[in-house]
């Protein structure tokens, strides 16, 4: 029996085969999958904002920000035994759901900013980015299977792809 582990908005979870891991309705948010190519331990984070310096919370939810979510995800994966040199990443999301000619441009560009921040953090931690499906105008639901190492991406209007 395999189970689907669900990752909510601003949340992170880890998974091992035969279970899979899924997050639904990614818009400007970015879904980050990190997996160990040898031990098949994987984790997923649903990142909402690029940097924790934006936080005005008393207690920061680490899963919410690109710069804190990735280290927090690695911390959780380490508990299940991972080798840092065999880690790989796949990402999806960062869409621009609405286009406006006026208004708060920083807010509207949040998708691309999230993608940039995630990539930067992965680079800093020397985790190779194997595949990505980012940008565009569509929401995505993504599901990662740690056994096949494939990330299934579903959109409302463009069907399903695997990366």
């Amino acid at each position: 029996m395999s189970e689907v582990i669900k990752v909510g908005m601003a949340d992170l979870q880890v998974v091992t085969p035969p279970n899979t891991i899924r997050t639904s309705g990614l818009g400007s948010c970015v879904g980050v999958v990190i997996y160990d190519d040898t031990s098949l331990v994987a984790g997923m984070a649903h990142v909402m904002l690029p940097t924790s310096s934006l936080s005005r919370q008393e207690k920061t939810n680490e899963a919410k920000y690109a710069d804190t979510a990735i280290p927090a995800l690695l911390f959780e994966m380490e508990k299940l035994g991972i080798r840092h040199y065999s880690l790989k990443a796949k990402i999806a999301g960062g869409a621009q759901m609405f286009s406006f000619s006026t208004g708060n441009s920083d807010l509207m560009r949040i998708g691309p900013r999230n993608v940039e921040a995630v990539k930067e953090k992965l680079k800093e931690l020397r985790i190779p980015l194997i595949a990505e499906d980012v940008g565009g105008k569509s929401g995505r639901t993504i599901e990662f299977n740690p056994k096949t190492k494939l990330l299934n991406i579903r959109t409302v209007n463009k069907g399903t792809t695997e990366i």
């Binding site: 909510g8 908005m9 601003a10 949340d11 639904s24 309705g25 990614l26 818009g27 400007s28 948010c29 909402m48 904002l49 934006l54 936080s55 005005r56 919370q57 008393e58 939810n61 919410k64 869409a95 759901m97 609405f98 286009s99 406006f100 000619s101 006026t102 208004g103 708060n104 807010l107 949040i110 105008k137 569509s138 929401g139 995505r140 639901t141 409302v156 209007n157």
Partner: protein, 211 residues
């Protein structure tokens, strides 16, 4: 503690009244536009976690039609009008008299799309102008955007400013529905004020003085 959870019951009542006044005017405007009777629900003010917000309209995966706009001025925030695909199709068909209008597969009929945006303009305009009169605050709606996509992906846009201060959103939700129809069209009005706007709204209404 999370910012949204610090609100007191009387402050929530004030927000409910805001939903009542705003949506009341918006319902009147919609009723004139469609030349039909429109009923609205008693507004509810809920403090919901980001995870649970898409559940209010059927779940993060659910395909919905939405109009989104930003509120600029003294008390910034985000506003959504969200409805099912079927109901939105019905609403637009009535407006443009085109039975073939569909929202299942893009590209969408341009006239229908702009009719829906115009509905968004009218609803938001009447909601905000009544709110403006009531609070004496200057509130201007941005040009609305339109999307047919997953509820989670759409609603997350309204959460960006809020997510910097917490994991909860204060949602002022009013449901509108057509009267005298077998299968009435209904839709949700979500008002999500930015975190700093609450104090501005409360002090404009003088509710912070009597603790």
């Amino acid at each position: 503690m999370d910012f949204a959870k610090k609100l007191k019951p009387y402050q929530l009542d004030v927000l409910k009244e805001i939903g009542n006044i705003g949506a009341g005017h918006a319902a009147t405007a919609l009723s004139q536009l469609l030349n039909k009777s429109i009923d609205m629900s008693v507004p509810s003010v809920r403090i919901v976690s980001f995870q649970d917000l898409p559940d209010q309209v059927g779940g993060a995966d659910t395909k919905v039609a939405a109009i989104f706009l930003r509120i600029d001025g003294d008390a910034p925030g985000s506003m959504f009008f969200i409805s099912t695909i079927e109901d939105t199709e019905k609403l637009i068909r009535q407006l443009i008299n085109k039975e073939a209008f569909q929202l299942q597969q893009p590209p969408f009929d341009e006239m229908g799309e702009s009719a829906f945006l115009e509905v968004g303009n009218i609803l938001a305009g009447s909601y905000l102008s009544s709110l403006s009169d009531f609070t004496q605050l200057s509130l201007q709606p941005s040009v609305p955007g339109f999307s047919v996509d997953m509820a989670g992906a759409i609603l997350s846009y309204g959460l960006i400013s809020l997510s910097e201060v917490g994991d909860y959103a204060i949602v002022i939700d009013t449901q509108m529905m057509e009267l005298e129809a077998e299968k009435p069209i209904s839709g949700h009005f979500f008002l999500l004020p930015d975190p700093e706007s609450f104090e501005i709204i409360f002090s404009a209404l003088g509710v912070d003085r009597h603790e």
